[in-house]
């Protein structure tokens, strides 16, 4: 299994959710985070000076998927989250060793 961590613009969350639903992915966990990208945030012009605003609110969506579903989930997120502008965010993929459903205690392993 993989953990897909997608850091996206908050206003794209709804469309990401919808995009994932369309490919049958429902389970996810969502975090409100502050992000700073490689551009160091956004520079505002102010009275001749410039103020750098880093720490921009983002949403992070975590999805655990089977290895086989990884690529289609990434594609769906990109399709739903992309605006083409700076700050669109990142997706990171981490390996997951196992997963347990608390309600039933059932253990899921994949690969």
């Amino acid at each position: 299994m993989k953990l897909i961590k997608a850091i996206i613009k908050p206003e794209r969350l709804d469309s990401v959710k919808k995009g994932l639903e369309e490919i049958g992915i429902y389970g996810m966990t969502i975090y409100e985070v502050q992000g700073r990208g490689e551009q160091k945030g956004i520079a505002l012009q102010y009275r001749g000076g410039t103020i750098q605003v880093d720490s921009i609110p983002k949403m992070e969506v975590n999805i655990i998927v089977k290895n086989s579903e990884k690529q289609k989930v990434i594609d769906a997120i990109i399709a739903a989250a992309v605006t083409g502008k700076i700050g669109d965010g990142r997706i990171f993929i981490l390996p997951v060793e196992e997963s347990v459903r608390i309600r039933t205690g059932e253990v899921i392993r994949d690969e």
Partner: protein, 398 residues
């Protein structure tokens, strides 16, 4: 007539109550915007109040209440409050000026609905000063300062035209000029803090008693009756909107208090003229009507963001017309009567007055906004809007 301490006490109190409505509007609106704009939204209310406070003592009061010039505007004799003294009839003249000041400040604060989450602070200051001078002061003169509407006998007890139609249609006009918020109708712009909005609504309801019952300019039976009908219309509006919204979806808490405000707006011009049954009808209709107007503007894709138009504009229009319908000779000591008492005239005058005010407020606001937009720009840049005005305009954050 000499000063009356009881009346003076009540108008002093009413002035305080109406003053509190401005932060009330700020909180009401602040809860409805996205988190990144909440400080700015509340700050706009304070800013509106502060600049109008200056404008009013310098020239606004005189333009509204100075000697009538052609039925259109007041003269300049009270510039700088010259000659506005501590004596007066019933209440000191300077108290009357203060009581009127808090209305003017509030009106501009209501109008910020139309530019929520996207207006430049400096442009707002310029706009606010010009708007108050060219729109508010003029309308106040028409209705209360001896202008043509007053001469014709149009009735506006506490500001249905002056405060609500002006700010509501003004908000619509400036919203059209400034344009929609980025992502409007695409992204989620749900209220970020509904308890804050409910608190604001509570302060508004509270303050409105000063607004309407204070407009009696006396601590008497009219003031008392105005208070009772004000409360009744508010409650009726709250319940009718709640019911309507619960048929559409869920009974929304924001809807309930929006309905209360719709009721309060609609009863405003009528408060000293109608009985409790009329207020019940006025409130119920206001809740339903303003709710429909809100839905309509949404389907039309109009981003008059916080619904000053639907609630204040349309509620005020309905109230002005309703005053012509329900105005009761029993309440007014036989001085006035409305359509249901057989007086078509009052109805026509009030409706006509309201329509003229709608047009004047909309057109003049539109023109002012257009000009300022050309000269200095109304709108923050894209990045600033994206980051939110709290950080972009104030360098502050929740």
């Amino acid at each position: 007539m000499v000063l009356d301490t009881g009346t003076t006490a009540w108008i002093l109190t009413s002035t305080c109550l109406v003053m509190l409505m401005t932060p009330g509007v700020g909180l009401f609106y602040g809860g409805l915007v996205r988190r990144k704009n909440v400080i700015n939204m509340i700050a706009l209310a304070f800013l509106a109040y502060a600049i109008v406070s200056m404008q009013w003592v310098i020239c606004g009061y005189s333009l509204a209440f100075g000697t009538d010039i052609s039925g259109f505007i007041g003269g300049t004799e009270y510039l700088g409050l010259t000659g506005v003294g501590m004596d007066g009839e019933g209440i000191p003249d300077i108290l009357f000026a203060a009581f009127q000041l808090v209305f003017a400040g509030l009106t501009l604060a209501i109008l910020t609905s139309g530019v929520a989450e996207r207006m430049k602070l400096a442009s707002f200051v310029v706009f606010g000063l010009i708007w108050t001078t060219l729109v508010y002061d003029v309308l106040a003169h028409w209705a209360w300062g001896g202008g043509w509407a007053a001469q014709l006998g149009a009735l506006d007890f506490a500001g249905g035209t002056v405060v609500h139609i002006s700010s509501g249609f003004g908000a619509l006009a400036i919203a059209l000029v400034i344009g929609k918020r980025a992502g409007f109708k695409e992204i989620n712009m749900a209220p970020h803090n509904i308890p804050m909005t409910l608190l604001g609504a509570g302060l508004l309801w509270f303050g409105w008693f000063g607004f309407n019952a204070g407009s009696a300019l006396a601590a008497d039976g009219i003031a008392s009756s105005a208070l009772m009908v004000t409360n009744t219309a508010a409650a009726a509006g709250a319940l009718s909107w709640l019911l309507a919204s619960s048929i559409h979806g869920k009974p929304s808490a924001v809807g309930m208090v929006s309905g209360a405000i719709a009721g309060l707006v609609a009863i405003t011009p009528a408060a000293g003229f109608v009985d409790v049954w009329a207020s019940l009808i006025i409130g119920i209709v206001a809740g339903l009507l303003c709710y429909r107007c809100l839905l309509w503007r949404l389907t039309k894709g109009l981003d008059e963001s916080l619904d000053a138009w639907a609630i204040h504009g349309m509620g005020g229009l309905w109230g002005a017309i309703a005053t012509g319908i329900f105005c009761s000779p029993l309440i007014t000591g036989g001085n006035y009567s409305g359509l249901i008492y057989g007086n078509v005239n009052q109805f026509l005058i009030n409706a006509g007055d309201a329509i003229v005010v709608v047009i004047y407020a909309f057109v003049v606001t539109y023109a002012i906004a257009k000009v300022i937009n050309m000269v200095m720009g109304l709108r923050v840049c894209e990045d600033e809007e994206y980051l939110g005005l709290d950080i972009a305009a104030h360098g502050e954050r929740v």
